[in-house]
Amino acid sequence: MIVLDHITKTYKSRHQTVTAVQDVSLRVEDGEIFGLIGYSGAGKSTLLRCINLLERPTAGRVEVDGTDLTQLGRRELQQARKKIGMIFQHFHLLNSASVADNVAFPLRLARVPRRAAMDKVHELLELVGLRGFEKHYPAQLSGGQKQRVAIARALANDPDVLLCDEATSALDPDTTQAILDLLLDIHRRLGLTMVMVTHEMSVIQRMCDRVAVMEHGKVVELGRVADVFLQPQHEVTRRLLNVDGRHRRTVLPSHATSAPVFEVTFVGDMTYAPVLAEVARETGASFSILEGSIGALKDVPYGKLLVAWQGEEDAVAAAVAALRTKGCGVEERRLTPVAVEV
């Protein structure tokens, strides 16, 4: 378990003091994949780097598996760091070392005998899908392959925690998917705790159990990904999710402009149940779906539909009530029609 307790990090230069992280407290459970999201400069990377004390917090306590890292001496901290793996946006491999030597590097630091280290290296390269690349050098690898080497290296000391600092931000979309799949696979097999920093909501959606949204060094929203994703509260979260549709153009059919429009959200198995049809039959109201998406948050199916209800006022009210009873989220939306040239 990782406990961040009232973490503050300020940078002082001659002219000004910059607060990168301001009094953040949070707790990451064992085996959880926890996301930190925000725009650049929000302090998410700084907070992540406070976990292994690459950045020493100006104030606050960092506890990993019951040990307060801020209280450790230099040697003890080096020892503790061996159990906290980390991967980076730009991989940070040793250019002068082969793939095998890069992966063996943390083992060498821990003075593991060469033969045992090489056995471990082969096992790790197998795990990340790079068997046969032992003698290659980083310059000969693609970005995705470099990140695989970095992941293997981060896992060499069998860490309990893996920190991912924008691990897929330098990769193309296909490679990003492949690396995220690999991380999920590793998480399933090894059950380690992961903390991921990203500015992409899709990464959170796909990987994380819980997420903290950061802005100006503070956590502005925190919760289960499904909750944050489907019912975003803070303005920054809504912007990250593009809820208010600055780039979205919902084309309204002329008859729907007067009808009340609701955003209906489903989570879990009910996503695939004929809920809307049932409610329509029971209440006599009819509906049309204006827009929507159905997908998955990690392993949980979800649906988010923009539905216009037509019919008697009572019937529509009954339909909304019925949807709520069945466990859907229902929220009225006012849409401004977009003029569309046909």
Binding site: G85, L93, N95, S96, L109, Q140
Partner: protein
């Protein structure tokens, strides 16, 4: 043409130059590299004490680099006598050569170390590496091409420094050129020594470049 040239003497002088340059280069690197590493490490630390140590070290290095070599050669005579027991001869010339070249190499090493990607060092820190593990396993291997070109530059500079070794009876090609070529007006001796020194510089540069290329090859794509 070349009638005045006493070839055995030229041969002997060439060997003396090579000997002085070789020994001085090795010692300059052995002494200069740790100083370069310290300069690098202290420049990276944020604390005031570290900055002070860095500035102090930096000033000392600069003092040795700014004194003209011919002055250093003479000023160091008592020190040389204390180290090798005499202030005359080839071995005595090596002492000021090392004192002059070690700070020079220290600066070149510091510059080469600065080129190492800070992210890689950070990655090593995140794996629990100690400072000395980072120096040995990250900084030195990653900076190797720059450190080796620094050795080449130092060796070439030492060929030119060693020409002044005649002042303390160190011998070598420079000494030959001054004694025969300048003092006895034997221009052909001067000409021969210069040609030999040019060839030495070229060969050293070529060897250095080859070594750098061979350590860099694996790092570049292909």
């Amino acid at each position: 043409m070349l009638s005045d040239v006493v070839w055995p003497e030229v041969w002997q002088a060439s060997l003396s130059t090579l000997y002085m340059v070789a020994v001085a280069t090795v010692l300059a690197v052995v002494i200069g590299l740790p100083i370069g590493v310290l300069l690098y490490l202290f420049s990276k630390r944020a604390s005031v004490q570290h900055r002070v140590v860095y500035e102090l070290l930096s000033v000392i290095v600069n003092i040795f680099r700014s004194v003209p070599f011919i002055i250093l050669l003479i000023a160091l005579i008592p020190f040389t006598e204390w180290v090798v027991g005499t202030s005359i001869g080839t071995n005595a010339a090596i002492v000021p050569l090392v004192v002059g070249a070690a700070p020079f190499y220290a600066r070149l090493a510091e510059t080469a170390l600065r080129e190492v990607d800070a992210g890689v060092i950070e990655a090593a820190q995140s794996m629990g590496a100690s400072t000395w593990q980072i120096v040995y396993n990250v900084l030195l291997p990653e900076a190797r091409p720059g450190l080796i070109s620094g050795v080449t530059i130092t060796a070439v500079a030492l060929i030119s420094y060693s020409a002044m070794a005649g002042v303390v009876g160190g011998g070598g090609l420079g000494d030959l050129a001054i004694r025969y070529g300048y003092e006895r007006f034997q221009t052909d001796v001067m000409f021969v020594t210069i040609v030999i020194m040019i060839v030495m510089v070229q060969v050293m540069q070529w060897i250095g470049d080859r070594i750098v290329a061979s350590v860099s090859r694996k790092r570049s794509r292909g």
